[in-house]
């Protein structure tokens, strides 16, 4: 049984993936495409190995920015959602703003932040990631804190429980799966924001600026190698947040993602 | 010619694997035109499977099913039967009238003819005023009446019903039972009716087929001896109670075989 399900679930994507890469290679070689247009996977891999130290360095820069923004944004998002769950009016003020921000390419604020801080520092980029993560966490956790089962709240009230103990015994446990859903969305978004921020100028040290400058110099294959690095970084962030979820909520699946336009806001 | 003819029918799920299930073995049943037959039994006795075999939504492992003298498949292609489920299964994006038109649309009827038939059916189930409503604007009982109207839209000789009143409250349910009988009197359709409720089966049926699980089979067929037209007064009739007792007795035999869930004794 086990080997059969392995065959059913792993074989098709494996065949599809290998087939796709083979086709890519064949198309590039067969049609003799110019290297500045599309590089063959074999060459990208070769460049990835050759430039591994440089790519790793750029990955560390973008990854650090993303990680700091992710942590700070998550902490502030959680704190703010706790405040919002307590004060209804404040929540009514912030929620429409958060919804409107969902629809906006918020990352363009880097252009402004660069002027507000030293453009050569990493602070504007980190603040940008923080903002993006903050709103994702805020919206989802606030939802988890407020959308609790009315029966549970009634039960607690029948015990004459205080608002604080309702928060601790009902609202917070209910919000935990929402938090991890938010983190799984925010983790890739933080990586994306980190290196999109680099397109706005500043130090030429991260993945985003490397990709742009290599293309400007018609080093297409090297740029693809950096893209590969960026994908691996995004994947690593996602896998780590998923693992965290597994450790923190054993057996409990995550709540369905906030499917509003904000789910990938700001990337 | 009988409405439904079933002979030595068998159905096996997951044949050959560790979780093989003998859903039905050796079923023989013949249903006359205009006859009302209920299938009753605990969960897993195969009554829904039997209904789906008649509808040709499942293929039998052995034996045969004929509907109106044709193979079950041909009967499905010709839409010789109408079907209704426990969940009314109305499409929420269509109006009530449009829901009833669905089978006619698929048969390629033209618009005016479809509309006329849908209105005729709504008249039959006493919902003529609700043609342009959407299903979610109706109560559960009304939705189920629309589903019955949809099943009757092609003027089928046979109605297949899978616990159509199972999700309704008791009062609506009794009302719907009377409605169904009066509709059948007017259309002359035969009905195969799957239910969990003993009184429902007895009140509606000419015959009640009692089934048992592991493997699914017919243990007894109870003839209900209620004379004449059935009305609400029938529910106080001695023959009605006799029928209930007979079916309950037959089901007791089933209960000995350790699987009792799913029988409502009401």
């Amino acid at each position: 049984m086990k080997s059969r399900s392995l065959l059913r679930n792993v074989l098709p994507p494996a065949v599809f993936g290998i087939g796709f890469i083979a086709l890519w290679e064949l198309v590039v070689k067969g049609f003799d495409l110019k290297p500045y247009f599309l590089a063959p996977p074999s060459k990208i891999w070769q460049k990835f190995i050759q430039n591994f130290d440089l790519i790793w360095g750029a990955t560390k820069v973008s990854g650090t920015n993303a990680l700091i923004g992710l942590l700070v944004g998550a902490v502030f998002g959680i704190l703010m959602s706790l405040v919002l769950s307590r004060y209804r009016t404040l929540s009514d003020l912030v929620t429409p703003l958060a919804i409107a921000l969902n629809a906006i390419p918020i990352f363009v604020l880097v252009a402004v932040l660069n002027n507000m801080f030293a453009i050569t520092s990493e602070v504007p980029r980190r603040i940008m990631v923080t903002l993006v993560v903050y709103f994702i966490v805020l919206v989802n956790v606030a939802k988890g804190l407020t959308q609790v089962s009315p029966t549970h709240v009634e039960l607690m009230k029948s015990y004459a429980a205080s608002e604080v103990s309702i928060l601790r015994k009902v609202r917070v446990p209910n919000a935990v799966p929402y938090l991890f859903t938010a983190l799984k969305i925010a983790a890739p978004a933080s990586v994306i924001t980190a290196f999109v921020s680099e397109y706005f100028g500043g130090s030429q040290n991260g993945l985003g600026s490397r990709i742009a400058s290599n293309i400007a110099n018609s080093k297409n294959a090297v740029a693809w190698a950096y893209v590969l690095g960026a994908c691996l970084l995004g994947l690593a962030f996602y896998v780590i947040s998923s693992l965290l979820e597994g450790v923190a909520t054993p057996g409990g699946g995550s709540k369905r993602a906030e499917t509003g336009p904000g789910a990938r806001r700001g990337n | 010619m009988s409405a439904v003819e079933i002979s030595s029918l068998g159905k096996v799920f997951n044949a050959g694997s560790a979780n093989q299930v003998d859903a039905l073995v050796d079923i023989d049943l013949s249903i006359a035109p205009g006859e009302f037959v209920s299938l009753i039994g605990p969960s897993g006795c195969g009554k829904s499977t039997l209904l789906r075999l008649i509808a040709n939504l499942l293929e039998p492992t052995s034996g045969s099913v004929t509907v109106n003298g044709k193979s079950a498949k041909q009967a499905r292609l010709d839409q010789d039967y109408g079907m209704a489920f426990q969940q009314s299964g109305l499409f929420e994006w269509r109006t009530v009238a449009k829901n009833i038109e669905l089978p006619l649309e698929l048969k390629g009827w033209e618009k005016a003819k479809r509309r006329a038939r849908a209105l005729e059916m709504l008249e039959l189930v006493k919902l003529a005023d609700f043609a342009e409503h959407y299903p979610w604007q109706l109560s559960g009982g009304m939705q189920q009446r629309v589903a019955i109207a949809r099943a009757l839209a092609v003027h089928p000789q046979l109605l297949l019903m899978d616990e159509p009143f199972g999700a309704l409250d008791e009062m609506t349910r009794e009302h719907m039972q009377s409605e169904l009988l009066s509709i059948c009197r007017r259309t002359g359709s035969s009905v195969v009716f799957v239910t969990h409720s003993i009184p429902e089966a007895v009140y509606l049926s000419n015959r009640v087929v009692v089934m048992s699980p592991r493997p699914g089979r017919i243990t007894k067929i109870v003839d209900v001896g209620i004379e004449g037209e059935r009305t609400d007064a029938t529910r106080d009739n001695a023959a009605f109670f006799a029928g209930i007792t007979a079916v309950r007795e037959a089901l007791r035999g089933v209960e000995m075989s350790d699987h009792v869930r799913g029988i409502e004794d009401r």
Partner: protein
């Protein structure tokens, strides 16, 4: 149940008005916080726990809110007769059209792929894992690559224009949420409804158009919202990363460079980008309202 629709509509209207008012209030509050910080914050920025985390409060970094607004009425450049509001509006309109093209491309492809995957189980098993992974990797990294095709690529003698690259990138980002959302929707049809269609001997295409697509609408709607904001993001990033002329992204980059001499200018373009995003989501919201007009109200939540 429908005897009081007018009072219900009335309540819905009231809620909307209240939301609008609160939205305006919250924007005014943000502006107030900006001005307060500007009044009390350190001119050259400041440190918290040794980190340079306090922004500079001088006029170059943080112009007054009224400066930003009044900048719209002045010419783009000294001596130019084009007022900046018309330049920003033109840029946002240019990017809006690119985002629309991308949205249309991505949505069409996403719907097509979803139908393919729902038709052939093997296609779903082969492709779906990659769609899920693609949501976690920064596809936007491809922006400069795709845009670099502009002017270099010739398809059957037809030169690939640079603007199309930006639209394709928007479509590229829009495509994934639509494909995944539609697939989930197509598979959401109740099994009783599928059985009903089978009992009518309906063909696969009939079942697709009469049952699966309508049943998928509540799933497609949120995915379209995601696709709309994704296509805007794709287009703006493409414009910024490659300096594509004509759109709002290029304006932001250009105006940001003039911050020392004309600090309010960049804000006019930033708000233009906000307008672009809101316009796109407004467009999709209208489409949503139309598609969901006859649905039970819970389903739209």
């Amino acid at each position: 149940m429908s005897n009081a629709p007018s009072t219900r509509n009335h309540q819905v209207m009231l809620r909307r008005v209240r939301r609008m008012v609160l939205f305006v209030v919250s924007i005014v509050l943000v502006a107030a916080v900006w001005e307060i910080y500007k009044a009390v914050g350190p001119e050259a920025g400041g440190k918290i726990f040794g980190w340079k985390l306090l922004p500079r409060a001088n006029d170059n970094a943080m112009p007054h809110v009224w400066e930003m607004l009044s900048r719209y009425t002045r010419p783009e450049l000294r001596g130019s007769d084009r007022r900046i509001w018309s330049v920003v509006l033109a840029g946002a309109w240019f990017s809006f059209r690119l985002a629309l093209v991308g949205f249309a491309l991505g949505t069409t492809l996403g719907l097509g792929l979803a139908v393919l995957m729902s038709r052939f189980k093997i296609a779903e098993r082969g492709i779906l894992p990659y769609l899920v992974v693609s949501q976690t990797v920064p596809l936007i990294a491809l922006a400069p690559l795709v845009v670099s095709w502009g002017g270099k690529l010739h398809v059957f003698g037809w030169e690939w224009p640079r603007w199309l690259s930006a639209a394709v990138l928007g479509g590229f980002l829009a495509f994934f949420p639509v494909a995944v959302g539609t697939l989930r929707g197509l598979q959401s049809a109740a099994s009783a409804s599928v059985e009903l269609m089978d009992s009518y001997a309906a063909s696969w295409t009939q079942t697709l158009f009469k049952l699966r697509f309508p049943a998928a609408v509540p799933f497609i709607v949120p995915s379209l919202k995601l696709a709309a904001s994704s296509s805007v993001i794709g287009v703006v990033v493409a414009e910024i990363s490659t300096g594509l002329k004509g759109g709002i992204g290029r304006l932001i980059i250009e105006y940001a460079r003039e911050a020392t001499s004309d600090p309010a200018k960049v804000f006019t373009a930033v708000f233009g980008a906000a307008l672009l995003g809101l316009a796109m989501s407004g467009f999709v919201t209208i489409a949503d309202l139309y598609m969901m007009r006859n649905r039970p109200k819970e389903a739209t939540a």
